[in-house]
Subunit: 381 residues, 2 copies
């Protein structure tokens, strides 16, 4: 059952704080990075055997061009069309973010200006695991492509069969990825940062991952750029009393089912709605294919916060600075200026987060853990 | 004596690489951060006694408003005028970097857009030490002010008299800093990141510092944003055979005298110029007020690289990705497109780096250590 708190009865600190990395991860990751720097491809293959239970040689680290083409051919035409439409939406949005240099002239012939250069080589991490995140491929690669990055490498852990899912390969093709590596975890980040005989070093590493990937990105930061340190995913739904509890519960669950550490927060001044949503969550959870995961994240990392009024709800949301914010009320555009921090904002009662996750166009790689206070979705240039 | 290498006889890796942080710094900094998080103001005062040999209480951590006003009044009118002119130049340049949100509409009433929000609270670190870096105050604070940051805090280590140099206070006033703390080193970064009873936590920390400050910024990254991990300063002078060795040597020394770890690199196809500059460095070094420092950085971290032609020189410069690049040749604008990576580029034979350090307008807080490959001077928005 989701916990319900009153804003007047819970410390602001307890509302805002969330714990980040697990203990012990730091040293494990440091050892892996050191190993990959020192032993290169040999270390990569050794870790593949150890962690992924796959025997591979250095030659297996790169997905052959023919395998990518074959993956594309085996996709259903409808799937390919949707993938291409999503890619077009994402490209259209990110084209608007293009930044250009400028020159200004001053007295005495002084010329000052700014020159914007694309990063030469970028690396995208795409998690493996319970659901192939092919939308992550599009969201990470397409902005880099539009920015003019010369080489876009992707790395993802192969399955037990030693293969990368065909849908991921198809997405990489649509997104313009130049090279695909079969590597996961901290070792993949180390290889991209420092290079090996087989893996080309990159200048920037982007993309989500588990606690080990996040820690590895933190440790190689400085040698390369990184997009952010991504934590568990979050949704915060701001609701006024006019919202439909069935829709609100479904939206909370859309994030809660992502992973056990995901967090779904509802902030509302309506006690009646809070209770209705709580009941509705209990009704919907057993119906989900990923019910077990949703159960855990709703019971542990999630909550409902009852506020005095909607204005306070918006302010609390800004302070939490969630990854995803749904502004479910009658006039979302009137409230928008009051929202200070959020990775992505979904406007109104009929704009579910899932739209943004896959298809609409704005990026879904977003700041988590309150980092929306100081960072943004990937911006090109 | 500066070392001269031929590009054909030195491994590209040896040209590009430079060592970063000193060993042992990591653990010392982690302990300080832990201490400040746990013990707050008490830890800050304890470290002030230990490292700065100053007895202070928590109340002394903040510079009183009256002290700032008094500092301003005691500055000579000419100095104040120059400070204000520099600030106006910096503001004019950074105004051009303003980014705005956008909205796009699609079929079926879909509206997508981007909302840009200033960071609420930023902290600037200003190093103490051998030369008061008042230009750093302007370069860091003015862009934050233009971006609309609500609170701009500054921290700098006080001198042995427990005071911040008056020129630094005057610069802070011109730049629009809201609060000034007397704290230096890793403890200052910890206090800004986590807050204490006296120090307000910020969302982003910027500004240069020594190895301890750089390491502390790295460790608090994730809790707050940081601008970059700054290493020792660097100049790379690209010269064709028409350059005046007297001017080239002076420009190399302008950076070499900054600190013993600074690096001054000249890349040229002209062997005659290389030898003339080497001789000229030996003549000019003893004339400098900071001759000892320049001597060390010229003899250790500096070099001249002889290339086959000017095109190769430009490519090597791009690969080194220096903090400062002087493009000293007859037609710098013709070569500019070939320059891929540099923090700041100074165009032509009469555009010394010092202009950019203090006065011209573009930012002087620049990516060092090759990080210009993936990062930029501070950009607003």
């Amino acid at each position: 059952m989701i916990k319900i708190y009153k804003s007047t009865e819970i410390a602001r600190e307890d509302i805002v704080s969330r714990e980040m990395t697990a203990a012990g991860v730091e040293d494990v990751v440091a050892d892996i990075i050191y190993d990959v720097r020192k032993n290169g491809d040999e270390a990569l293959c050794r870790y593949a055997a150890k962690f992924d239970k796959i025997e591979m040689t250095a030659a297996d680290l790169i997905v052959p061009e023919a395998e990518i083409e074959a993956a594309w051919e085996q996709m259903e035409p409808e799937f390919r069309a949707v993938l291409e439409e999503a890619a077009a939406n994402i490209a259209a949005f990110h084209e608007k973010q293009v930044r250009n240099g400028f020159a200004i002239t001053q007295k005495d012939g002084v010329v000052l200006g700014q020159k914007i250069t694309p990063i030469a080589r970028v690396g995208l991490y795409v998690p493996g695991g319970t659901a192939p995140l092919l939308s992550s491929v599009l969201m990470n690669a397409i902005p880099a492509k539009i920015a003019g990055c010369g080489q876009i490498a992707m790395t993802t852990p192969p399955g037990r069969d030693g293969k990368v899912p065909a849908s991921i390969l198809a997405a990489a093709k649509v997104a313009g990825v130049n090279r695909i590596y079969k590597m996961g975890g901290a070792r993949a980040i180390a290889a991209l940062a420092y290079g090996t005989a087989t893996v080309d070093a990159v200048d920037k590493i982007v993309g989500p991952g588990n606690a080990y990937v996040a820690e590895a990105k933190k440790q190689v930061f400085g040698k390369v750029a990184i997009d952010m340190i991504a934590g568990p995913s979050e949704i915060l739904v701001l609701c006024d009393e006019t919202c439909d509890p069935v829709v609100v519960a479904a939206d909370l669950l859309s994030q809660a089912e992502h992973d056990k550490m995901a967090s779904a927060i509802m902030v509302t001044p309506s006690e009646a709605l809070a209770e209705a949503v709580s009941r509705e969550l209990e009704r919907q959870i057993p119906l989900l294919p990923r019910a077990e995961i949703a159960r855990i994240s709703i019971d542990t990392g999630s909550k409902i916060i009852l506020t005095r009024d909607f204005a306070e709800a918006v302010d609390i949301a800004s302070e939490i600075a969630p990854e995803h914010l749904e502004l479910m009320c009658d006039d979302p555009f009137a409230w928008l200026p009051r929202v200070k921090n959020a990775g992505s904002i979904f406007m109104g009662k009929n704009c579910p987060e899932a739209l943004g996750d896959y298809f609409a166009g704005p990026n879904h790689v977003l700041p988590t853990g309150g980092t929306a206070k100081f960072s943004s979705p990937p911006v090109r240039g």
